[in-house]
């Protein structure tokens, strides 16, 4: 498939998806399959880019969250329809792989694409879907005894849960392949959390599985074994008191910024959500001991706010009042200070 043909199809599918026209969307995909384009290429070079565009368009405030959900639902139906096309029917001849999203992870489409690609390559695939509780995943592993688990997570704040899930799968004797934006563009968090393999995309993941994941023979290990810095308890304290931190930050902010006293309840909700996000990311940064995870989130947030006509400068006083509450926490204080400096530089450059 030439790139131009692929780009045309991506544009056509995008138009159908934002229009919410699933029949047109399915038509484009079926035409591609009938035209002899391999099903894997249709999934990864047409459907996947459209889904990626959904996220970008939302970030740029060109589509609403509801439209984002709608587009995703249409894409999902398109993938389901594709599975019924004769070329997409493949008898399993390889082993068994479980594909699941980390608990709390709602973005199931990347995992769904991987599940379909693996199925096309001849694996027997159990797709467990979005937000799979660890207990369900583990009992499924015990029942089916798969060759590997592929775990997907797109939100960095799920990393502590991802870690617990990876450890649990390995304790059940099954190697773990991690994927998704949460694990970092270079897979650093997958390595940090002890995943057996990481892949940036579905093709890479399928290739890795074809080569065989390392067999687990090592003794089960505990999360603390991977992350000795957790011994300072800062993550635990921040995560456990997150709600009261948010509450106090809201109160302190209202004292500093008189304009907040005139906020509508909806505006207060939004502000509370933003602060809760900051606290969640700070906790995750403490968990992974990654300053970059925190600074990266704040830069991204300020860009998202900018696209919605809100200045990212609002984040600075929030970080300030948060720093006051966490002054006794060495690592947290350092993270907040460095993130403030970094955000200040980014705002000056913009």
């Amino acid at each position: 498939m030439t790139h131009a043909v692929s780009a045309d199809r991506v544009d056509a599918l995008w138009s159908a998806v934002v229009a919410g026209d699933e029949y047109a969307a399915a038509g484009i995909v079926f035409a591609a399959l009938d035209g002899g384009i391999p099903a894997e290429d249709v999934l990864l070079d047409v459907v996947a880019p459209v889904q990626a565009k959904v996220g970008l368009e939302w970030a740029a405030n060109r589509i609403s969250v509801a439209q984002e959900h709608a587009a995703t639902a249409i894409n999902d139906r398109v993938i389901a329809a594709m599975a019924h096309h004769p070329v997409a029917r493949v008898e399993p001849r390889l082993g068994r792989v479980i594909v699941a999203c980390i608990d709390g992870e709602w973005h199931a489409l990347p995992a769904r694409l991987l599940a379909e690609v693996l199925r096309l390559r001849g694996w027997r695939v159990d797709f467990l879907g979005a937000k799979v509780p660890v207990q369900h995943l583990i009992s499924h592993l015990h029942l089916t005894g798969p060759d590997a688990v592929a775990l997907s997570s797109s939100i960095a704040t799920r990393l502590p849960t991802a870690h617990a899930t990876i450890t649990a799968c390995q304790a059940a004797g099954v190697p773990v392949l991690a994927g998704g934006a949460a694990f970092g563009v270079d897979g650093r968090y997958a390595r940090l959390l002890g995943a057996n393999a990481w892949s940036p995309d579905a093709r890479g993941a399928a290739d890795l599985l074809a080569d065989g994941l390392p067999q687990l023979t090592a003794e089960a290990h505990q999360p603390i074994d991977d992350l000795p810095h957790l011994a300072d308890q800062e993550y635990t304290m921040v995560a456990r008191t997150a709600r009261s931190l948010v509450k106090q930050t809201m109160a302190d902010l209202a004292e500093r910024l008189p304009v907040m006293r005139e906020y509508t309840s909806q505006q207060l909700d939004r502000t509370g959500e933003d602060i809760a996000h900051i606290v969640d990311f700070l906790a995750t940064a403490l968990y992974t001991d990654s300053l970059e995870l925190f600074t990266g989130f704040l830069r991204w947030t300020s860009e998202i706010l900018a696209a919605r006509g809100v200045s990212g400068r609002f984040l600075l006083p929030t970080l300030d009042v948060l720093a006051v509450q966490l002054k006794d926490f060495t690592r947290a204080s350092r993270f907040i200070k460095e993130a403030c400096d970094d955000l200040g530089r980014a705002l000056d450059e913009a």
Binding site: A73, Q135, G145, G173, R243
Partner: protein, 530 residues
């Protein structure tokens, strides 16, 4: 040498002489010319040919003679007549006394201790690996792997036969485990049929390797020198048998090794039995649960139905909220959908939802009259031993040109919400009493028309009463739900359900929550042109 010095040496020699003779362990004294000067009674026993005056090299083993020549001062070790000795040298004037300590027993004990240590470590390792999985196939593989690495050159794990079929895992040392189901007769391997029935094994020295059937031997293992068959004891019932194979170059199994193999088999058998039990239980639960789990909703006659369900318990899959769909048999007929909430949560409430769903299924032929269905459901619930009650919403949906016509009946439940194209959110005008408490029920039915892209949303109080938010203690409430739905105008039913569920879950955060169920019914936005 002065007289006094000579005196003291002689005195010392005399004292040493008596000490040496009285020593319980062998002592030989070697003069400066390399001949034996003296040896005690114990040494006589050890070196029967040694006599004073003989050169040392003619009287003792070469290792001791060499140690004397080299005179390093360090203790040395060696064998004398098959026993292990340690020899220490001390100077006696010009002479040297060699003190011999028999350490045969000590070395044997050390060796035994070393073997025991290795075995304990192996058993601990085996237990860890075996306990990690509750999957029978994997337990069999781990058993075969451990046995072929530590106990034999190859191992075969066999489950008790099921209708003359044997499920087995083979593994040769360093190889891959191979799983297979084979129609083979256990009687063709001596001792195997007995072991599979859980009886004590035949000692391996009684098994003639030549009499063992070929099917048990892994491909490429080569000629078999010895065979041991060990039962894998389960919890009260046999879990299977382990066959250990050694190639001819290796020694046969000692009694001690067979005892150890049984210790290992006890752990492997327990793990396999637990895995089998787990699979059986999970299978039963799965079958019983199948009818309690809310169904996957689908599109019927172009009308979009989507549902989402989140039980309150993290580990639970069912609870007191439910929904169900009965598709129209043919075009022009109504599709019946129900969403409800039984008082209580967990498995007991779920069993009640199952009863309601079954009852409603039976009452479907009456569904043209919602109130009649409600009345009969109410009497069915009153006559049962349950003390629970339920609130419900019925919806009957049918295509009406480009639109969808809905009949909605609310029995004590939260009002269905209608999402119009322009983002207006209306409550359906239907009210009624809950079921399962009062002898009679009453309810009014509302008729609602959905234009293309418009939706009707049914939900349980798990959403509106979800406590959380950024501050952790605020109810989600009906107004927030309406605000969310207003943004969902014109989007597919799956997207509405996902959006509502996701926001509710984010709102809840780490808080505890009740069961949550959402159903969206959406009129098709585009004409089906295929």
């Amino acid at each position: 040498m002065s007289t006094s010095e000579e005196q003291s040496v002689r005195l010392a020699e005399a004292e040493y002489g008596s000490v040496i003779r009285a020593a319980p362990s062998p002592v030989v004294v070697v003069g400066s010319d390399g001949t034996l000067v003296e040896l005690n009674d114990a040494a006589d026993l050890v070196f029967p040919t040694a006599r004073p005056g003989l050169p040392l090299a003619d009287a003792v083993p070469s290792w001791l003679a060499r140690a004397h020549r080299e005179s390093s001062g360090q203790p040395v070790r060696g064998l004398i007549a098959g026993r292990a000795f340690q020899a220490h040298a001390t100077r006696l004037g010009d002479a040297v006394a060699w003190w011999l300590i028999d350490e045969t027993e000590e070395q044997r004990t050390k060796q035994l201790l070393e073997v025991e240590r290795e075995r304990t470590a192996f058993l601990a390792h085996a237990s860890t690996l075996l306990l990690s999985s509750m999957n029978l196939g994997r337990c069999m593989e781990i058993t075969a792997q451990l046995a072929s690495e530590y106990l034999a050159d190859a191992a075969v794990v066999i489950l008790p036969p099921v209708v003359n079929k044997l499920t087995m895992v083979w593994r040769a040392r360093g190889g891959q485990a191979v799983r297979e189901v084979l129609a083979a007769d256990p009687a063709t391997v001596p001792g195997l049929d007995i072991a599979l029935r859980g009886f004590p094994p035949v000692p391996s020295r009684w098994i003639d390797p030549a009499s063992v059937a070929d099917w048990i031997i892994p491909d490429g293992l080569g000629p078999v020198g010895s065979v041991a068959v060990v039962p894998l004891p389960g919890q009260g019932v046999p879990a299977g048998a382990l066959v250990l194979l050694r190639t001819s170059s290796r020694a046969v199994f000692t009694e001690n090794e067979e005892v150890f193999a049984r210790l290992f088999a006890a752990r492997a058998g327990a793990a396999m039995a637990a895995a089998r039990l787990y699979a059986e239980q999970a299978n039963i639960t799965e079958i019983l649960m199948r009818d309690l789990i809310p169904p996957q909703l689908r599109h019927v006659d172009g009308i979009e139905f989507a549902g989402g369900y989140q039980p309150s318990g993290v580990a639970e899959r069912v609870g007191g909220d439910f929904y169900d769909l009965h598709p129209a048999g043919q075009a022009g007929r109504e599709t019946f959908i129900v969403l409800g909430d039984v008082c209580g949560k967990g498995l007991e409430a779920a069993a009640m939802t199952g009863k309601i769903r079954n009852t409603l299924h039976a009452l479907l032929p009456l569904a043209t009259n919602h109130l009649r269905v409600l009345t009969m459901l109410n009497s069915a619930l009153l006559s049962s031993h349950h003390t629970r009650f339920a609130t419900l919403v019925f919806a009957s949906a049918v295509r009406d040109g480009a639109n969808v016509r809905l009949r909605l009946t609310n029995a004590g439940h939260l009002p269905p919400l209608i999402v119009r194209k322009d983002g207006t959110v209306e409550e359906a005008q239907t009210q009624g009493s809950l079921v399962g408490v009062l002898p009679t029920v009453h309810a009014s039915t509302a008729v609602v028309h959905l234009e293309p892209g418009e939706s009707c949303v049914l939900y349980t109080d798990g959403i509106t009463e979800a406590r959380g938010g950024p501050l952790g203690d605020t109810y989600f409430g009906e107004q927030r739900l309406k605000d969310v739905l207003a943004e969902c105008a014109g989007i597919p039913s799956e997207a509405i359900v996902e959006r509502v569920q996701m926001l509710a879950e984010q709102w809840i955060g780490d808080n505890h929550h009740d069961d949550i169920a959402v159903v969206a019914i959406t009129a098709p936005r585009h004409r089906e042109d295929r």
